[in-house]
Structures are given as C-alpha cells and as structure tokens.
C-alpha cells in the first residue's frame, strides 16, 4: 500500500462520514429558527458539499492525479 492510496482511502472514508454527519445535523436542525441557526444551516450545507468534494477527489473523479497514483 503506497502513501497515495492511504491518503485517498482516508479521504473517501472521512468524506463519507463527514458528509453523512453534516447532512444529518442539517436534517435535525432544519426546523430551527433564529439568525444563528440559519447561518449554521448554510454552513452545514457547505460543509457537506466540501466533504462530498473531498470524497470525489479521493475517488479520483475530480482533481488532478499524477501518473501512477
């Protein structure tokens, strides 16, 4: 197992976990009102999107990978 593979595996597993946690937290807080909760909801959406992007990068679907990676 080379370092690239370990990093990608970590990104994929971590990305799945963080995306699920972020979207679940968003689902739970969906009914919450107040300015701070609206900001939290926006931030959770973007956090989930970021986790999905990291997951896709780990899967080599997006981003640049050097030859042999």
């Amino acid at each position: 197992m080379n370092a690239q593979l370990i990093e990608r595996l970590g990104a994929v597993i971590g990305g799945v976990v963080v995306a699920v946690v972020a979207f679940y937290a968003l689902y739970k807080d969906w009914q919450a009102t107040g300015i701070e909760n609206q900001v939290f909801k926006l931030m959770l959406v973007l956090l989930g999107v970021g986790a999905v992007l990291a997951l896709l990068a780990g899967l080599n679907i997006v981003g640049f990978a050097p030859k042999g990676a």
Partner: protein
C-alpha cells in the same frame, strides 16, 4: 464542573445585560465574518483573474498540486467542523463532558490540519522549489491564500483552547454561552473558506 452546574447561572438568575446585548453581539460577530469573507473574496477573485489571464495553469515549470493529500487533509478540517457542531449541540443539551470531548477533538483535528499544511509547504518549498517569492503568480497566490487561511485556523485553535479553559472554569452556563456559539460560527467559517480554496487550487 458537573452537568447540573451548567443548568443554572452562577448568580441563580438571568444576566439581564447579556440577554439585552446577545443579539447585538451576534450581529457584530456576523459582520466580522462577512468582513473576513470580503477579505478572502478579494484575494480569491484576484487569483482567479490572474489564473485566467495567463497562458495555461500552472505556469510552465511548476507541477500541478497533487489532490490526494489535500483531500485527506481537507477531510480532517471538515471533520473538525462536524465535531464543533456537536460540541455546541451537547452544551445546549447540558452534556458537559461530551461537549468537552468534542471541543478537544476539534482542537486536535484543527492542529492536525495545520500539521498537514506544514507538511505540504515543506514538500513544495524544499521538494519542488515552489516558493512564495520565487514562483510568480502561482506561488504568491497559493501561499498567500492558504497561509492566510492557515493563520485563521491557528487563531481558531487558540480561541477554542481558551474556550476549553473558560468552560472548565465555569464561565459558560446554559443560558449564557455566546462565546461557544461564536467559536462554532468562526470554525464553520474557516471550514467553508477551505471548501472554496480546496476547489480552486486542487480541483479546477
């Protein structure tokens, strides 16, 4: 400090000044985040403009940034956003020990992200000879933006460390915890900024 202790205010009553000024504090803090957002936006748009005005990206002689390590490091930071969210949720529900553990996990993950960034800088500067001052627009924009973000993460880690000490000292109560809310907002903010930086430097 016990769970019961965060269920009631220290003076067995509501801090009237806090109640009256809480919304103002929140609005002030959100304005600070918006101003920080403007700061990052100006650098990001400058980077995108320069990137698209040149002939090809990255400039000749510079390798494209490898996404695998960055993806892993990003997940570490995004994970810290999740732990910080649950730290606040646990505090709101009176689970003080869980709150402390999630807060400590956030600090560890934030420090881990900084360590990853230091490793990447080391690799770029000494391995590939990409520097802030000697690699043209690419080096200048990459190190400025990621360095500025790293500085925000560093200040965030310091802020959260202060929160740990204050929480252990019983500064925050169930009815008075704006410092923790502000810390959570700030930490989510640095996460979200990294989503953008990760996308523009590593994915497109």
């Amino acid at each position: 400090m016990s769970v019961a202790a965060i269920g009631a205010d220290a003076h067995d009553g509501v801090d009237q000044l806090y109640v009256e000024t809480r919304e103002l504090r929140l609005q002030g803090f959100l304005l600070f985040l918006i101003s920080d957002c403007v700061l990052f936006s100006s650098f990001i748009f400058a980077y995108l403009y320069l990137r698209n005005s040149g002939q090809g990206w990255p400039p000749p002689g510079i390798q494209r940034l490898d996404v695998a390590f960055a993806a892993w490091n990003s997940v570490v930071l995004f994970g810290s956003g999740a732990t910080m969210h649950y730290a606040l949720e646990n505090f709101k529900h009176g689970n003080f020990m869980k709150y402390m553990w999630f807060l400590l996990a956030t600090i560890v993950l934030g420090a881990g992200f900084l360590g990853g960034q230091a490793y990447e800088y080391n690799h770029l500067i000494f391995g590939e000879h990409v520097t802030w001052w000697g690699s043209g627009i690419f080096g200048a924009s990459f190190f400025t933006l990621t360095g500025m973000h790293g500085l925000h993460v560093f200040f965030g880690v310091c802020y959260l460390s202060v929160l740990v000490l204050q929480s252990a000292a019983g500064v925050y109560t169930k009815g008075k915890f704006f410092g923790i809310t502000a810390g959570t907002l700030y930490w989510h903010f640095v996460d979200v900024i990294w989503v953008v930086l990760f996308s523009i430097f590593y994915l497109i």
